[in-house]
């Protein structure tokens, strides 16, 4: 049975349709990345999934039961779902009290509550900050405590809205580890809203891709079928005439490969050639830039806004894609 099922759900603001989902199912215990450009309806969808905002039209089913958008009906549902916002706020009390808030309002006894709070803080690596006044935490610590606060209540669903968009590398790594651990346990359904495609790929096997409020059926980007061969001692997968990808540790023959968009460097090129082609698309996605190069097949590339500015590239420019073998995954026999 699906955990969530959305049928003909529509959200309209000021006459503009911001979400239009004829059908969307979210399975129990699975990890989904929620992707799409700014204004695609991702946060609106999270609002519905967290039972904070009722859809203007359509039906939502949770564990097979239709959701009735009345406060008395919604509270038990909200207690099974946890939303961590992109910029979470801490209640003006200690970290322990923040993390234990959900348990306290559920009437969980103090001793049991403390145990669960300690476990949740341990999971995000912040047990040593339990007694600190929460509003004094840094941005990254706040994000991690917010995740602990959500997890302390053992929710069925964890909704994460850009949890690593405004944190430093160290905190990003910890948050990604927490999400990976939850995904591997398979007890909690995860919906991770992110602009970072490589993060989405690494953490979530399933993708919900929205564009202009509509569900776009998009397979994992940069996934190609090709033929493995060897050139000058290096394994190379031939995708198209001018699209050849260096691959390590993959047997010759038909294979399917995927390329991490962040593992590709773009260099200026003079003329079309192997792994060279025109830059077809540039799109700002949060604090990163998504680009697409036409190599006979589209190759998606992702880089930080600062790196992109440094390249000085524009649509139509001829570029050469330098693909690191470490950025390539090989799936033989596909």
């Amino acid at each position: 049975m699906s955990l969530f099922e959305l049928r003909d759900v529509r959200m309209v603001f000021d006459g503009r349709v911001v979400l239009d989902l004829p059908r969307l199912e979210i399975g129990q215990g699975l990890a989904y990345s929620l992707q799409g450009p700014n204004g695609a309806g991702k946060s609106t969808l999270l609002g519905i999934l967290s039972f904070l905002n009722a859809p203007h039209q359509g039906d939502v089913f949770f564990l097979g039961e239709p959701v009735v958008w009345k406060e008395s009906f919604l509270r038990p549902l909200r207690r099974q779902v946890a939303l961590v916002e992109q910029h979470p706020v801490m209640f003006s009390r200690s970290v322990r009290e923040n993390v234990g808030y959900g348990l306290a309002i559920r009437g969980v006894p103090r001793a049991e509550r403390d145990k669960k709070v300690d476990e949740a803080l341990e999971l995000v690596g912040l047990a040593h900050l339990a007694e600190v006044y929460a509003p004094r935490l840094s941005g990254g610590e706040t994000q991690r405590v917010a995740i602990a606060r959500a997890l302390a209540n053992s929710p069925k669903v964890l909704l994460l809205d850009e949890p690593t968009a405004s944190v430093d590398t160290q905190n990003r790594v910890v948050i990604e580890q927490v999400v990976a651990e939850l995904r591997d346990r398979g007890e909690t359904t995860i919906v991770l809203c992110t602009h970072n495609r490589s993060q989405a790929w690494a953490l979530c096997p399933h993708v919900i891709f929205l564009e202009d409020g509509k569900l776009v059926h998009r397979s994992r980007a940069n996934s190609y079928a090709g033929i493995m061969g060897v050139t000058d001692g290096q394994g190379v997968c031939r995708i198209a005439e001018n699209f050849r990808v260096p691959v390590n540790g993959c047997e010759p023959g038909r294979v399917r490969i995927s390329i991490d968009p962040e593992g590709v460097r773009l260099l200026w090129a003079d003329a079309p050639g192997v792994n060279s082609g025109p830059l077809a698309k540039i799109r700002l996605e949060g604090d990163t830039v998504a680009l697409s190069v036409n190599l006979g097949r589209p190759l998606d590339v992702q880089m930080s806004l600062a790196d992109f500015r440094a390249t000085g590239l524009a649509v139509g420019d001829m570029v050469r894609a330098e693909i690191s073998p470490e950025a390539v995954d090989c799936h033989p026999g596909n």
């Binding site: 904070l52 916002e85 979470p88 209640f91 003006s92 959900g102 959500a150």
Partner: protein, 230 residues
């Protein structure tokens, strides 16, 4: 020289433990504390509900309370006088020229202050607090408590401002209390009396005593805030 003499008089009054002065200060504190307490009981929940709820005419209600901030004490004095005078609707209570009458007048004076400031305090609270509490499973009542807790320092500031307003007002105390020595004489009415008598030094000395009390209240509030924020 005039201010130095006044300061000296204030010290003499404070540390000489003059019985009459202590009684005047006692009446001032008694009337001000009771009126502030009653105005809090009415004003904080009212302001909170108005601030947190969405309803038609909300802006008009807010405008009304903001306008009431400018209500002159003399108008309140006249209104309560007309109610409590012998021929008034509440004349049978016999409260006129008593501390009770002063308290009633002062409640009318400061309740709008507490309501208006509480509305503003609640309105300033980031909506993410409400959303966070909701998504953690809080009921409407529990969400309200979260918002109230986050707004507590602004509400406390409103209460302190209201206390400052009543302890320093004179119109209501004079009109409804009558400045009766030993009964309804407060620091401000005593100051007015000393001014009438030409005792400017003593009048200003009483003013300094009043400010000293206000300072103690604010220091206490600062201490409570510091303790809460750890």
């Amino acid at each position: 020289m005039f201010f130095l003499d006044s300061l000296g008089a204030a010290f003499q009054l404070l540390f000489g433990f003059d019985r009459e002065l202590l009684h005047i200060v006692g009446v001032s504190l008694n009337v001000s504390l009771w009126s502030t307490l009653a105005a809090c009981v009415i004003g904080v929940p009212a302001g909170f509900l108005i601030g947190i709820a969405s309803f038609r005419g909300k802006q008009a209600v807010i405008t009304f309370f903001n306008t009431m901030l400018a209500l002159p004490t003399v108008v309140i004095g006249l209104l309560v006088y007309s109610l409590l005078s012998r021929r008034g609707v509440l004349g049978h209570l016999g409260w006129l020229y008593s501390q009770k009458a002063m308290i009633v007048g002062q409640i009318i004076l400061i309740t709008p202050i507490i309501v208006a400031f509480t509305i503003a305090a609640v309105g300033r609270i980031d909506d993410r607090y409400r959303r966070t509490a909701l998504t953690l499973g809080a009921s409407s009542w529990q969400v309200a408590l979260v918002v109230l807790r986050e707004a507590r320092f602004s509400i406390m500031a409103a209460i302190v401002a209201a206390f400052g307003r009543v302890i320093s007002e004179i119109g209501i105390s004079m009109m409804l209390g009558g400045n009766a020595r030993g009964f309804t004489r407060t620091m401000t009415t005593a100051m007015a009396l000393e001014y009438d008598k030409g005792e400017f030094v003593l009048a200003l000395g009483l003013g300094i005593v009043l400010l000293a009390i206000s300072l103690v209240v604010n220091v206490l509030l600062g201490y409570v805030q510091g303790r809460t924020q750890r």
